[in-house]
């Protein structure tokens, strides 16, 4: 406990005090200085906020699901590699981290855009009039999120797969189970804590995103964090900004608790 004191002091100053002030700003009226629910009431009675809230939830869960579908096979493949090779390959998983979204969004146009590689191929094989809209809509947002979030799902699952007891797989094999059956009845159920931990990380991170959706999304892809930005910077309504921030934090918290309940302490790796 003694050794974490400096960190606790640091967190107290740069995290807990500001968070306390956000709570204060969300619940205390700027006019009267009294405790109030008026800002929360304003949030829940306006169609815009509720729609954006729903979009945020939709994008985060949809994103997490697609990232999982892309990330699980990668983790599974990596787990099967010899350690040295795995280390090299892991670096590739981290590659998206090193590029800013502003640069990536430009690169995406070259591949997915109207005159990009994908559409060029489609036109080449299917005729001049053919084309698919892969950017500036929900599909574009998903491309961006998968690109950003892949490491967050690959590594928790990879750690879990590596920690699985190989004896279980051998036992299943000896008993004559097929590889598919071993996967679905041994490997996959055992990897659920890794999956949940990964999904948790992705959902919570995507909930707070706004740059990727605004660069790659369409007109309906407005996130809660966009509204925080708008209220803080454009109209100086810091009470509403605080309310939205609090709701985002609460949503993330509820999700965390629900998952923890569902899987018990397993999520944090205690019983893998």
């Amino acid at each position: 406990m003694f050794f974490v004191t400096p960190f606790l002091i640091y967190m107290g100053i740069v995290f807990f005090i500001p968070v306390g002030l956000i709570l204060f700003t969300g619940f205390v009226s700027e006019e009267t200085g009294q405790f109030t629910f008026e800002y929360f009431q304003a949030f829940f009675t306006q169609g815009l906020y509720l729609r954006v809230l729903w979009t945020t939830i939709e994008v985060s869960f949809m994103g997490a699901l697609i990232v999982l579908l892309c990330g699980y096979p990668i983790a599974y493949y990596l787990a099967k590699q010899p350690p040295k090779r795995r280390m090299y390959l892991s670096l590739f998983v981290l590659l998206p981290f090193y590029t800013s979204i502003l640069v990536k969004s430009f690169a995406f146009v070259v591949i997915l855009g109207h005159s990009g590689a994908v559409n060029w191929l489609l036109r080449f094989f299917l005729g001049e009039d053919f084309g698919v809209q892969l950017l500036y809509n929900r599909i574009g947002v998903m491309f961006g999120i998968v690109h950003d979030m892949l490491p967050f799902i690959v590594f928790p699952i990879l750690v879990n797969l590596l920690a699985q007891n190989p004896a279980l797989h051998r036992a299943a094999e000896i008993m004559g189970a097929s590889r598919t059956r071993i996967f679905w009845q041994v490997t996959f159920p055992l990897s659920l804590p890794g999956i949940f931990a990964g999904i948790l990380l992705v959902v919570v991170r995507v909930m707070g995103q706004f740059v990727t959706p605004s660069l790659l999304g369409g007109r309906t892809d407005i996130m809660m964090a966009n509204l925080v930005d708008f209220h803080v910077n454009d109209v100086l309504d810091w009470n509403m900004a605080a309310v939205i921030s609090i709701l985002l934090a609460v949503m993330a918290g509820v999700f965390l608790v629900a998952l923890a309940r569902l899987r018990g302490a397993q999520i944090f790796g205690a019983e893998t």
């Binding site: 700003t25 979009t55 500036y136 605004s214 660069l215 925080v228 930005d229 454009d234």
Partner: protein, 368 residues
Amino acid sequence: MIERKPRSSATRQKPSWRTTRRDFLGGATTLGVGIAAGLPVVFTPGKARASAVIRYADDGGRTGQGRDRLYIKPFMSATGIEVKTYIGQKNLAKMKAMVKANNLEFDMVNDGGSNLVSASKAGLLEKLDKSRLDLTHKLFPEWDWEDTLAWEYFSGGLGYNEEAIDDPPRTWADFWDVDKYPGRRGMRTRPQYTLEEALMADGVAPKDVYPMDLERAFKSMDRIKPHIKIWIEQTAKTIEHLQTQELDYTSTFSGRIFIARSEGLPLNFVFDMPNSSPQNVGIMKGAQNYDSCLKLVQWFFNGEPGVEWFTAFIGYGPTDSETMAQLSDEVKAKLPDPANPKANWVDVGWWGDNLEDVVKQYKTWLLT
């Protein structure tokens, strides 16, 4: 020295903050909200209050470097006043936090007119002592505020890629006519300029745009909505989409188009239907070197560098008629003429009063 007058017109005015606890809360709340929003908000202590230096906030970038070379350096040698340029976050939130914490990081700011008019409404700026400014040849009487001054204007309007499009729409009504002009269109996710375009497309004369008939504007927007390929959030992206030919034409700014042209990109701007906005300067509330700041305000408004500046940065125009008269015809041809009846002059005061409601209505409209 300067009287604080209550501003009756302010719709978003907040009560004045008295106690030091609240001062602290103000600053710390920005920090907190900033962290929550993932924005980097950095607080550094202000310099000694009594210094004779002007701390001047600018956007930086290409135009910022140009201003440094053409305005700031000559100002220093002409007056002997030292100017320290601050380049960093200077949005409304930052200004509010600085004024509330009574800890200014800059004394003077150069920013878009709508931002500074909002700052003025929120009581963040000092009143400009007009008796000590020479504004004899000021153009645009409608851009007139107590505590901020328009020193140049810039124009929004239609940009297009010359390689893809020979004949772009020349009126907003034509831009709305998707049969006559079938190209891929972009519009902005902000209502400023966009709703003006919608009204003009629907036949409203530029002089009758304000106060805006929102119902009519949104009805007009309904007609173009299904034909917009990309809704663009960031201004820089308008140029990028034209460059990569994701779009054939989009609402953008002439200054950006001409910077892109000077870099060799085949982009052009339609001058027949501009929406022009002021770029302002203002002095922060509580600035200690008010007199020096006032001199810099004057320098921006009609100082000698004007001619060279407006020649180097095509698309930006002066708000002083004498500077305007000295510009070459070639430069003037690329500016919306104050006499052109098809040019709209954005009423940033109207926007300041209505911003929050209209943005909410617009975002809701975008979502449906």
